[in-house]
């Protein structure tokens, strides 16, 4: 069966520090991968998605970046965190066939607090 791993679960970082969040998927090949952010009391904001290794689509311009160095690995990074980067970061995957005709499966999320 397929599983998605996301870490760390919680993170407290000072303003201006770098960030690296990692997500891996097991049990499937060539998944579509997504990063979402949820600010306190707000909706799910799509940040990046990827349909293949090295292919990254950015939905919101900001100081975050994403990379997909391997088929089932998706990394969210920042060189310098801002206070506004605080939030709940969710990685998700879906099957590569049929676009968005299949469900998104979310990881357990990373709660990031920038101080």
């Amino acid at each position: 069966s397929q599983t998605i791993h996301q870490w760390p679960a919680t993170l407290v970082q000072p303003v201006g520090s770098p960030l690296s969040l990692e997500c891996t998927v097991e049990g499937t090949s060539n998944p579509n991968l997504y990063w979402y952010r949820q600010a306190a009391g707000r909706g799910l904001q799509l940040l990046f998605y990827s349909v293949g290794i090295g292919q990254i689509s950015s939905e919101v311009p900001q100081n975050l970046s994403a990379s997909r160095p391997q088929d089932r690995q998706f990394i969210l990074s920042s060189k310098k965190l801002l206070l506004s980067d605080s939030g709940f970061y969710l990685c998700a995957w879906t099957g590569s066939r049929g676009g968005l005709s299949s469900p998104l499966h979310f990881g357990n999320g990373t709660r990031l607090t920038v101080t």
Binding site: G43, V51, E59, L90, P103, L104, G107, N108, G109
Partner: protein, 109 residues
């Protein structure tokens, strides 16, 4: 393009019904519905792919009016476990799934 959900919040007593609406200004390929409990990841409820398609899951069902670019989620005879935030996600093309701001549902005894 973010879909618009309404209402923003609903309070129900156990056994009551509720409807959550989702609308988009763009033609839709699919509509997804998810429920999120506080502090947890969203959990998939259902997908609607065709205009006029309706689906059911226990006492939760949904419809998709492709012409109006709208979807509705129906919760019948609500249970305490239905409490949470409900999100609709819409895909107008490609692989981007954009979510609404969510509808907070509280079911009380």
């Amino acid at each position: 393009q973010q879909p618009v959900q309404s209402p923003q919040a609903v309070i129900l007593r156990e056994g009551e019904d509720a409807v959550i609406n989702c609308s988009s200004s763009k033609a839709l390929y699919s509509v997804h519905w998810y429920r999120q409990k506080h502090g947890e990841a969203p959990v998939f409820l259902m997908i609607l792919l065709k205009g006029g398609e309706q689906k059911g899951h226990d006492k939760i069902s949904a419809s998709f009016n492709e012409k109006k670019q709208q979807s509705s989620l129906y919760l019948t005879a609500s249970q305490l476990s239905y409490s949470g935030t409900y999100f609709c996600g819409t895909a107008d093309s490609g692989y981007a799934l954009n979510f609404g701001k969510g509808t907070s549902l509280l079911v009380t005894p």
